[in-house]
Symmetry: C2
Subunit: 479 residues, 2 copies
């Protein structure tokens, strides 16, 4: 793609995510139609621009005046969301072209993903029309897109508007996975910037989204769900070009034999050899993870905290058991238990009685009621040059409730130079706000279990290593 | 232990979990004291028996008349909860013995777990007093015990009373882990029968708890958290004796070198060689898992559903992406993707268009609005003799909301002969009840992600294999 074309593409993507006018082609007021849910998403989601339902059989839809075809719409249209049957789409694209529409979200399915070769041919023909008309297309076979910070929910899922606004962009080849990750984010309180379903990727692929999201001020880290790509090179080239600018984490399924066959039917691409993919992604500065939990947890963490400068982790815990679980994960996955400096050891020995674990992991249990002790230990370990990251664990209930307040105070409201991941768990609905406030202040990254808190520290280090290693490689002249 | 002694021990454990009278020795109305929280747990938890606070410096505590020492208490006492400093405990045990108290929950810490050899000596001395007085002790160094179905919260954590009543018993060597697992259970809606913190195990260990819980009608499955045992043989003997009666799942930490040192200080036992432990537990019919999530998920599943008769799994999904993730987990961990029978294939081909995944995984997406199709597919796969278990996945929002109702109808209200694990995820707080109803009807086991739904099916099969294998072994005459 030449620079001018690339610039045009990025301009179209801006229209797509920040349109002043949206036309819904196939809008409906019948709840059995996707066109109903798209209208509902835009209206209930609080879209602030002009919304034009397009439907030849309606005068008004959800209180808005409808037009019979898109060319009849008054004024310019930045984005068209299309929810009509596949056979009608070529005609609609031509009309969009005439109307000067440069951005389309094509929800319609029934193209390259179907068993019938006709589907692929239809998609190819559509791509030619789009190219000729200069239309940037998300889809086909997608739920749509969501720009959380702009209240633009251009999808068939009104519930996406329930998501918390935040710094993590989700880009997925699978609509199901976008829903899964967004619902998980809602349940975990992880804030999102964009939710994008690429579907069959007519002319907008992962590489285009990386180009766009690297420029997007609302996005701090990027989570990708992949199955397989016909032509992964432009994506890998984009990733390499943006290497290290913003963290990118990828979860690729399709390792299983049957899953691979499933991918072909699903979004028209063979998932292909997992190891080759993982190697190529790593080369391009993208961190591979292997579950939906790890994808969301890690992208969330990378949006919030500093990277560890080394593998030496300290585990500070309110109880010994959870510390041991975290310890097992850290050691099994390549982190080292930090050996505290003499100064830190002196502080801890001064603050904790001999009956406690004082080495590492540190069991702060005996200091539950001693705010000075907790503060002293946490601060000493944060400042210890022999510690690169901290896993902070505490189970809370009314008996040691005070310790949470102390932690909140001593972690303060600033983003520490060292990453702190934690599991500060209490019964639901009682002290969730206090933990949430710590995350909002970027004082720590909160995870639902000690093992996941440890695993995220592992992944922060794995991500840091991606760059340490390649710097070494570059310096030593090897490819 | 001779049978009479064992019988006495079980009788004492019955007193412990179903006491008609409880004395709290060290009761307090000062929130900074654990004795305050223990009183609060018992009162707020709705304990229905007689509650006697023991404190020489109070006339009334929380509205209840206090006695100055336990021997002054009127009438018989079934259970004493002790929260006084370690040095006072020997005297209290003697007083309990005189009063005829046979069961004690000893919350006090500062015995074998401390760095000082004196702690171990104190514990040994205490064990001799307890033996002489015939007292069965939970602890020392424990938060206590909870009998959910009897509203007995004899712990320092009033919030344990928020837990849903259910069939899973948690027995843990670590108080922190009991809290973690109970809080996770609350957040996941998993019901518990008992929560037991064994602490330093003065004279009640995992083996005693297995003996007791195998007889407990409220407990269907048992989750154990272990770090290491000084004398694992009685536990392994008990497990072997009860092999297969009720499912037992164990999570043992201490694989890491530093964690192992931590365990020694934590509950006075070296965690020891992980592989030897895992082998011994497997031999005894206990399933090993390796995370807090897997422990809770698997114990929950084993309390709800049938075991798979073979490794052939069907993945039925509302969206292809999550199905691929589940597929990867199943294949990586030893399950086989079922090849459907001719009959099932004919049903599915009749109900789903060619554009769908119809083999396995099955993408039921195209049938979102067709209740007959979803019913037909699910029923055909449930009846297919070539399928041993089903992983059912669907992401729900208003556009495909109807499919959830259809699933609810066609899964019906009976416990199917084949296990069904599932992730039916929606935005929080909207359709949770419908999914919960399916679990209450034992129609499926619900997990928060597709990978965890797949992993639980793997673990159900691993548990089933434990017995298939040993049956083979027994038949072939090897040990």
């Amino acid at each position: 793609m030449d620079p001018q074309e690339a610039g045009e593409r990025q301009k179209a993507l801006s229209l797509l995510f920040e349109p002043k006018t949206v036309a819904v082609i196939g809008a409906s007021d019948k709840p059995a139609k996707l066109g109903f849910h798209v209208m509902k998403s835009l209206i209930d989601g609080g879209y602030e621009g002009k919304l034009i339902p397009v439907n030849p059989n309606a005068v008004k839809i959800m209180g808005l005046p409808a037009v019979s075809d898109v060319e009849q719409a008054p004024g310019a249209i930045d984005l068209a969301v299309v929810v009509l049957p596949a056979t009608l789409v070529p005609g609609i694209f031509k009309a969009c072209g005439k109307k000067g529409i440069r951005a389309v979200v094509l929800i319609t399915a029934g193209f390259k993903e179907i068993d019938d070769p006709e589907g692929g041919e239809m998609q190819d023909a559509l791509a030619r029309i789009a190219e000729k008309a200069g239309i940037t297309v998300i889809g086909p076979n997608t739920f749509g897109i969501v720009n959380c910070h702009k209240n633009l929910n251009a999808s068939f899922t009104p519930e996406f508007s329930m998501v918390e606004k935040g710094p993590v962009a989700l880009v997925s080849q699978s609509g199901g996975f976008s829903h899964l990750l967004a619902f998980m984010a809602m349940r975990q309180g992880v804030g999102l910037s964009k939710i994008v379903g690429l579907g069959n990727r007519l002319n907008t692929d992962f590489g285009d989204m990386l180009d766009f999201l690297m420029q997007d001020p609302a996005t701090t880290s990027i989570a990708l769900y992949l199955e397989g790509l016909d032509n992964p090179l432009p994506f890998l080239a984009a990733a390499t070009a943006h290497r290290g600018k913003k963290p990118v984490v990828a979860y690729k399924t399709g390792r299983a034999h049957m899953g691979d066959e499933a991918s072909l039917s699903h979004t028209g691409s063979l998932a292909g050899n997992q190891d080759i993919y993982e190697g190529a992604l790593t080369q391009a500065g993208i961190l591979n993870v292997n579950s939906s939990e790890a994808l969301l947890d890690t992208a969330h963490a990378l949006s919030l905290c500093a990277l560890p400068k080394g593998p030496r982790v300290a585990i500070l815990s309110g109880q010994a058991g959870p510390a041991m679980a975290a310890c097992d994960v850290c050691e099994a996955e390549g982190l080292k238990m930090a050996v505290f400096s003499k100064e830190t050891r002196a502080v801890i020995h001064g603050l904790l009685p001999p009956l406690a674990l004082r080495k590492n992991p540190v069991d702060m249990g005996p200091a539950w009621y001693d705010s000075g002790a907790i503060r002293g230990i946490v601060q000493a370990v944060m400042q210890d040059p022999q510690v690169d990251g901290i896993v902070l664990l505490m189970m809370f209930a009314s008996a040691n409730r005070e310790a949470l307040s102390v932690l909140s105070q001593c972690l303060g409201s600033r983003n520490p130079e060292k990453p702190i991941t934690g599991c500060l768990l209490a019964p639901p609905g009682i002290w969730d706000q206090e933990v949430q406030a710590l995350e909002e202040a970027k004082a720590l990254v909160h995870l639902p279990t000690p093992e996941r808190a440890a695993k995220v520290m592992v992944n922060l280090w794995r991500y840091a290593m991606l760059f340490n290693k390649s710097e070494d490689r570059r310096q030593s002249g090897s490819p």
